[in-house]
Every structure is written in structure tokens, then in C-alpha cells.
Amino acid sequence: MTIEKIDLDLCTGCGICIDSCPMDVIRMDRAGQKAVIRYPQECMNCEQCALDCPEEAVTVTPYKTVPLISSWG
């Protein structure tokens, strides 16, 4: 499941992972306090968010699921 979770107990809202993500997967929550996984479909498992988070709050796995093929979308 690519980026799996951001541990909100650990996240300090520093925003580093948002800059680290080349795919714009992570955004700040509305209150600007915590990082949230906004667009998980685009995660390419590059691991940069997890490696750069000073609090080790981000979990990334090497697995990715894609939607079933549909005839339109």
C-alpha cells in the first residue's frame, strides 16, 4: 500500500515530508498542524518522506495496488 500511515502522535507538523514528496501525495491538514496523506494513488514508493521525517512518523511499504481496469473512467 505504498505510503501507509503518518503517525499523528509523532508528527510535529514540520512539513519536511511535504517537500520531500515528488508526487504531491502529502499535504498539511486544514489547521496546518499535521501532515496528511492526501493523494495516496500517486505514491511511487520512493521512500524519501520516511527517510527525511525527523520523527520517524511515516511508514512506507514496497507494495502498491492499482485499481481494476474499467472500460471508462
Binding site: 505504498t2 517537500d19 520531500s20 514528496c21 515528488p22 508526487m23 504531491d24 492526501r38 493523494y39 494513488q41 500517486e42 511511487m44 514508493n45 520512493c46 521512500e47 524519501q48 527517510l51 527525511d52 514496497p62 507494495y63 502498491k64 492499482v66 485499481p67 481496469i69 474499467s70 471508462w72 473512467g73
Partner: protein
Amino acid sequence: MSRGTSQVRRSFEADVLVVGGGLAGCTAAIKARQTGASVILVDKGFAGKSGQTPFAGSYCVFNPEWGDDLDAWMEQVSSIGESVNDRVWTELCFRESYERYLELLSWGVRFGADGDARAGVEPQRDGPPVGPCKAAMMETRAPSMTLRRQVLKHGATIVDRTMIVELLTSGGQVVGAAGIPADAEDAVDIFTAKAVVLAAGAGGFRPGRWPIDNLTSDADCMAYRVGAEITGKEFADPHHARLDQAASVMFGRYGRDPEGGGPPRGRFLDSDGHPLPPMGVLDLDLDRAVHAGHGPLFIEMPDGVRWPMVGGAAGGMSVHKAEGIRPAGTDCSCNVAGLYAAGDSLGTMQSGATYAAIGQSVLGCSVTGAHAGAGAAAYAARAGGPAHPAGADVERAAEAITAPLRRSGGFGPRWVTQMLQNTVLPYYVLHIKHGDRLRAALANVEFFRDHLVPKLYATDQHELRLVHETRNMVLNAEMRLRASLFRTETRGCHYREDFPVRDDGQWLAWVILRRAGDGMELFKRPVSAEHRPLTAGGVQ
């Protein structure tokens, strides 16, 4: 910076605009600043964290004082690159490599096993046993942030998280670019510049197993749309990866290595357990084994563990420096005035039809970055006052770029991308090629181009980026299919089942693609006579 009305959120102006903040773009920005030009660098991610630069390791360095023989190094590239390397660029990169290496050291980039390489002392250098070319190891991930700091220290402005979508022209000359910021809805940023350097990297079809999903050939595509010549789309990059792990490169490729990475040490096996060559034309031999019915393939580790493998890890990308905007000279200009390119966006053909030497890619980025930065700054100095894009042109561009946000329906970019992947990622389309299959795929891609792309819609600014990336991936697919059909021979990473033999009589040449009205024209440009191998009547 000023704020406007309608979709235009911000307007920027500089002598030189650099698009992309990898090794090539950062080097270009610094070099342009060193001449006194004002510089803005814009990146669709965060410059220093995006693109392929964070993942590179080996950096090719040639130095006669270390006993290196230029003729022998050139011979390695020409023979493995199958004589379609552009020897001007191959040689220029080797000759300048030591100067660029020293410069990177002076900027704080660390080389050597312990990051302890020093100027004046030969670092440990290695290379596969195919010839004399060798590379020093650069620390991974850190150099791109080191370069970012240097860009800022040299006084350039960085605009992060804005994807450049189109170049702006006036009187046939590039005078800026328009892009979409990630963090504002229905917004466009306008950049006015006397010269533009495209250093936006390479691109693929979001293959998911190589960390290039953010690279969608944007530079090639926007340059093509304003008339630039594009080359090298037929030479596929056939890297493999683990079947069961997305982006397995990042996860140690074959399980995490407690020592921290390093090359795979296993051996490749076919479905019967027979060993396969570790590397033919890169990994194309693995595709050939599968095509012959010997799949699935495995990699067997020394401890006997077998991982299932898959090809096409970097599907949609070419051998680095093969694809891209074809340079018109060593200043990295092209056939469109005011437009420069560097790094993976520039098709120097430094390595030819396949990867001919280790660490050439990042070396090429340093060298072309330096040349493009200086070249663009010199052009800007000659240009005098800024040639502003016409206001009406800016409004039209902004309107067209944001139009997918105003479509109430149509096709979603994720779905169109998936349909494109189904059409062009299978090994039998762009790796093991045949005219019939290429034409069949092209018929589909033309349908995507004509029917799906014009109806792409976006529900927010993030999806707007996906729309423009999807549009570029479709164009990249068309370029690859047409270039592959056009080159009726087999050479390096271009394999045609129906033309399985290398044909030096016809094809010591580069394929060039160019926009002609609404169509795409293709022609070949011969490798210059003095650079042909002896067997083909050359003088070498």
C-alpha cells in the same frame, strides 16, 4: 513578483529561467548566475528532492594524470554505444569531467566510500570489466540538496512546487513559460525570461518500479510543441526490477542489504532454472528470454532465495542522453531561439544506443548544465531588453492550461494513464518490437491523443498536474512508437524483430522528430563522416 487577476496568480521575470532543479538545472542556474544574469529556477516538486538526481551514485571522471587514455575511453563508448554516440559530446564530457568533479567537491558534494575524497588525490574509481572507463562514487540523496543550497548562495531565486506546462513565445523566440502551482486552486504562474533552460529530466509512463513517476517528458513535450527537434526516442531503457515490489530499487532491489545497498549480487534464472546472461544490451536479453517462452524469470541470491523479476522498470524512458531536445551546438541551444536544455532533457547522444560506461549520465548533467547556463546567460546578455509575451497570449495560455478544471466531465487522468500503460508497457511493444505491433499500439495512442486527451478533466489543482502529465505521456508514447517504426534496423536498446540486424549502411544516423503543423515529421541526421567506424567507410 506581482499578483494579477483571473487565473494568473504570480508573475516572475529574470534574464534566465531554469526549469528543473536536478543536477543539470542547479548547475545551469549557478553558471548563469556566475555571469551576472538574474536567474529563477522553477521545479514541479521541491528542487533537491525531485527527479532522478537524488538516486544517482556513480560519477564518471576521466583524468590523464591518473593514467587514463582518452582514445581507449572513447573506443569503449563508441563500440558499446554502437557508433551512434555523438563523439563531440562523448569527448567533451570526458575532457571536462575532472573540472566538473573538482567544482562539485568545492560546492560540498562528497565523493568516495567514506565521503572523504579530496581535490588532487585520485578517488577510488570502479567500472564494469568491459573497458577502461571508471567512475567515482558520489554519496546518494545528499548532493541534490547541497546543490540547492549552492543555487541559493549564488543568488538565484527558487520557485518550488510549480509545474511548467507550456513555453511562451514571441516572434518565434522563447520568452518565458507558464506553469501551475500546486498550492493554489485554478491558478497559473507566468515566468518571463530572455532565455529558458529546460532541465526537467527524462520521463516515463509512470512505470512504478523506477522512481520516475514524477517525470513525464515535460521538457521534450513542451519543446516539441514550439518546434524543437527531439531525438533518441527509439532507444528504450530496459532496466528490470522485482515483480512483487513497487520501486524495488529503493528497497534494496532484492531485499534490504544490511550493508546499505550495493549492486545485486545474485544471478538471473529462467523458468527452467537455467542461468541467463547477467547483462546483454543492458537488460534487453531478459526480455528476449521471456519472448522465447522462458519466463517467468528469477534472480537467485547467493543464499538460494529466488525473487521473481520483471522488465520495463523504467518503461517509457530512453537510455539517458539518447532522448531529448537535440542540441544545435555545445552551448546547448537548439533550433528554437532562446531555448536551451541540459541533463536528461538534452539529447546529446553522449552514450549512443545503450549505456556504454558507468556514471556517464550524471557527468553529462554536470557538463551540459554548465554549458547551458553559460550559453543561456550569454544569449540573454545579447538580447537586451526583455521580450515580453503578448498579454493576449498569456491570457490564452492561462485559459487553456486551466480549462480541464472547468470541464464538468470527460475522462479522468488516472484512467487515461492506466489505459496508456496497458497499451505501451508490455515488453512486446517498445522492447521487443515489430512493425505490426508498433502500428497497432500507435493506432490506440492516436485515439488517446485525439479523443481522450482533449476531454481530460481535473477536479482540483493536483489533478490538473496529472492532466498535463498524462497529455505529455501520450505524446511521449507517440514519439517512441514513431521513432521505433522509423528506425528499420536493430541497434543497442532498439530491437526490431522484423529488422533484427544492425544496418550501418542506412542507420549510422540519429532519428529526429519535429512538429509539422498538427502532424509529426521524422527524418534522419547522419553521424558525421569522420565519426563513422572504419567498416562503414569512416576515417577512424
